[in-house]
């Protein structure tokens, strides 16, 4: 099965865009720095992945052409990353589920270096960062889940709210569930029942959130077509 490099790149790009919204809004200075750091990691991976995907098209497209000139129907990120940040608990739930998905995926890609050495090199770099993101999200999920009554309520709500969107992620990764289950257990949180399973991101059928996100992201680039910045 060939990897949809564009989809991986879009996951990282849209995740980066949402995480960067926390800049100057973090619950404390240290966390502001941490979130921005993670956003930068995701953005870095996005640039490499989009660059690679674009270079393999006929005709080739650059990372910026892909990021700024596609409509939301052409983006192939999973729905979860385009959802609004919500409160800090929602952001951590999204990050937990995303990192638990990206880490084993990048590990597999890095290991398959004979199949696709370029992709493997990108994945190898991203693995370490993913491990860090997973640790970070787990650390906070545990503290919020097992902190105060309010934080427990918010973290459970966050898990409940985001859970339906995780099905789109992990069809082929049983590790995902065991990783996430362990964190939820330590956080005194319940894993929601599986019911609603929204999907469509990989086919360009997104939520209403994405085109608003892209409108903001793309507005300046589109206002001055073809120029250098």
């Amino acid at each position: 099965m060939s990897t949809d490099v564009l989809a991986l790149g879009d996951d990282a790009l849209i995740a980066a865009q949402r995480l960067a919204e926390w800049c100057s809004r973090g619950p404390d200075l240290e966390e502001d720095i941490a979130l921005t750091n993670i956003a930068l990691d995701q953005l870095g991976a996005a640039r490499l992945l989009l660059g690679l995907a674009g270079s393999r098209e006929q005709p080739a497209r650059t990372e910026d052409e892909l990021a700024f000139l596609r409509t939301d129907r052409e983006f192939r990120n999973c729905l979860m990353v385009e959802l609004p940040n919500g409160d800090f608990a929602v952001t951590m739930a999204k990050l937990l589920f995303l990192a638990a998905y990206q880490k084993p995926l990048y590990e597999e890609l890095a290991a398959a270096s004979s199949d696709d050495p370029e992709l493997a090199a990108i994945a190898a770099k991203a693995v370490k960062e993913s491990a860090y993101h997973l640790d970070h999200a787990a650390l906070w999920t545990v503290r919020l889940g097992d902190g105060t009554e309010e934080s427990h309520r918010r973290m459970q709500n966050a898990v409940d709210e985001i859970w339906p969107y995780t099905h789109e992620l992990f069809e082929s990764h049983p590790d995902w569930l065991s990783t996430v289950d362990e964190v939820l257990r330590e956080s005194t949180l319940e894993r929601p029942a599986d019911g609603w399973r929204p999907t469509g991101g990989r086919d360009g059928v997104h939520t209403e959130h994405l085109s608003r996100l892209l409108a903001e992201m793309q507005v300046l680039h589109r206002a001055h077509p073809g120029v250098t910045w």
């Binding site: 404390d28 200075l29 240290e30 720095i33 941490a34 750091n37 860090y132 640790d135 970070h136 650390l139 503290r143």
Partner: protein
């Protein structure tokens, strides 16, 4: 959030040295924060974090009689320190 002092050993062969401080509620978070802020997540760096309250500091060269007994806190100042204007006691 407590204050933690941060010590970094950038590479083998050097000793840890004090680089500054971070705030965190617990040791694991303090370590991560220190890594983000003071090493920008460089590899091969060794980090120590110590609650500032756990540090015992000696007096500077001045006569000890002006100060409380020698086993004192690292940032505690002589008793005539005034709280900055308007700041509520926390």
């Amino acid at each position: 959030m407590a204050l933690w002092e941060v010590f970094i050993r950038p590479r083998r062969g050097l000793a840890h040295s004090h680089v500054g401080s971070v705030h965190a509620a617990d040791a694991q978070t303090a370590l991560r924060n220190a890594r983000d802020v003071y090493t920008r997540r460089q590899e091969g760096v060794s980090i120590w974090v110590v609650p500032a309250a756990e540090i015992t500091a000696s007096s500077p060269e001045e006569k000890d009689s002006f100060f409380d007994p020698a086993a004192d806190k690292v940032y505690r100042h002589p008793t005539f320190y005034q709280v900055p204007e308007g700041a509520p006691h926390i």
